[in-house]
Point group: C2
Chain length 164, copies 2
Amino acid sequence: MTATAARTPPRKRASNGAARRSEADEIGLDALVGHAGYAVRRFQIWIFQDFVRTLGDVEIRPTQYSVLTVIGANPGLSQMAVAKRLGIERARLVHLLDSLEQRKYVKRIKSKEDRRSHALHLTAQGETALAKFKGLAAEHERNVEAKIGKENREQLLRILAGFT
Amino acid sequence: MTATAARTPPRKRASNGAARRSEADEIGLDALVGHAGYAVRRFQIWIFQDFVRTLGDVEIRPTQYSVLTVIGANPGLSQMAVAKRLGIERARLVHLLDSLEQRKYVKRIKSKEDRRSHALHLTAQGETALAKFKGLAAEHERNVEAKIGKENREQLLRILAGFT
DNA sequence: TATTGTTATACTCTATAACTATA
DNA sequence: TATAGTTATAGAGTATAACAATA
C-alpha cells in the first residue's frame, strides 16, 4: 500500500492573508465519515450529557442508574453477577456500591450460602428513589426521541439489541 | 408518582438452598431495555475494543486516529479548530498532540498570522503512517459490518450522521 | 486451585479553572 | 477584554495485578 491510498486531497484552505474562516465549520472528516464508531462515540457523548443533565438534580449518572435498575429487578444478585451482566469491572463496582450504600440506596447482605459473596438489595429508600430516577430517565429518553426521531430510535434499539 | 410506578416485579430467584444459577445469564435488565443510551454504551465498548485490538500493533487509539485523520485532510488547522470539530477539550488535545508530535507524526508550526496559534500538519512520516492506519481502520470497520450486518451498519451511519 | 470482594495502580477521558502570550 | 495554547486538578471509566477469606 502506498502513502496515497485512500487519501483525500487536502481541502482548499483560506489563503495566507485572506479572511480566516469565522467558525469551525466546513472542516472535512475524511475517513471518519465512514466509521460507525466515530458516529457512535459522538452520539454517546450527546446522550450521556443529556442523561446527566436530566438527572442532575438527583445526582445519578448512567452507570449508577444501570446498577440500581438491575439490582432492583434482580434482588439478591452477587457483585460478580451484576458486574458481568453490565460489563463493569468488579473492582469498579466496589466503589460504585460504596457510594450507593453510603447514600442508603443499596445494602450488601452477607450470603449464607457462599460467605465470600454479598447479596445485593435496594433499601426501601432505594426503591422509592429508583422509581423517581426511572421517571427522569424516561424524560431523558423522550429527549433522545425528539433528537433523532421516533422511528430512528426504535431502529437503533433493534440494531443494537444484541449488545445489551 | 408512587414508588411502584414502572416497577417490574422482582424476578424469581433460586430459593435458598436450591442449586444456584450456573452463569450470569437470565438476569433481567428491566427499564434498561428501553434506553437507547444503554445499548449505545455497550456497543461503543465493543467497537472501541475491536478498534484498539485491530490497531494494537501500531498503538493507535480511536481518538488519536480521529486527530490524525482531520489534520491530514485539513492541513494548517489550529488546535482550537481541531478540538471544536472533534468535540475534544482543547486541554486534552494538548497532550494528544504532545504524544503524536513525539512520535513524529505531527508538527506544530507557529502561525505568522496569529502568533497565539499553531498550524497543525502531518509530517511525511505521519502521512505514510496514517495511510497504514486507515487500512487497519477499514479492517476494523469490516469487523463492525460482520458483527451487526451490512444493512444495519448503513442505517446506523444514516441515523447518527447528524452527530458527526 | 479457583472465586469473591477488596485494594491499589496506571492510563484514558471529561470537565474546570487559572496562567501566559498574544490579539 | 477576549482568545490560543498550556498547565493543573478532580472525577469517571477502563484495565490490571495482587491480596485475604472462602470455596
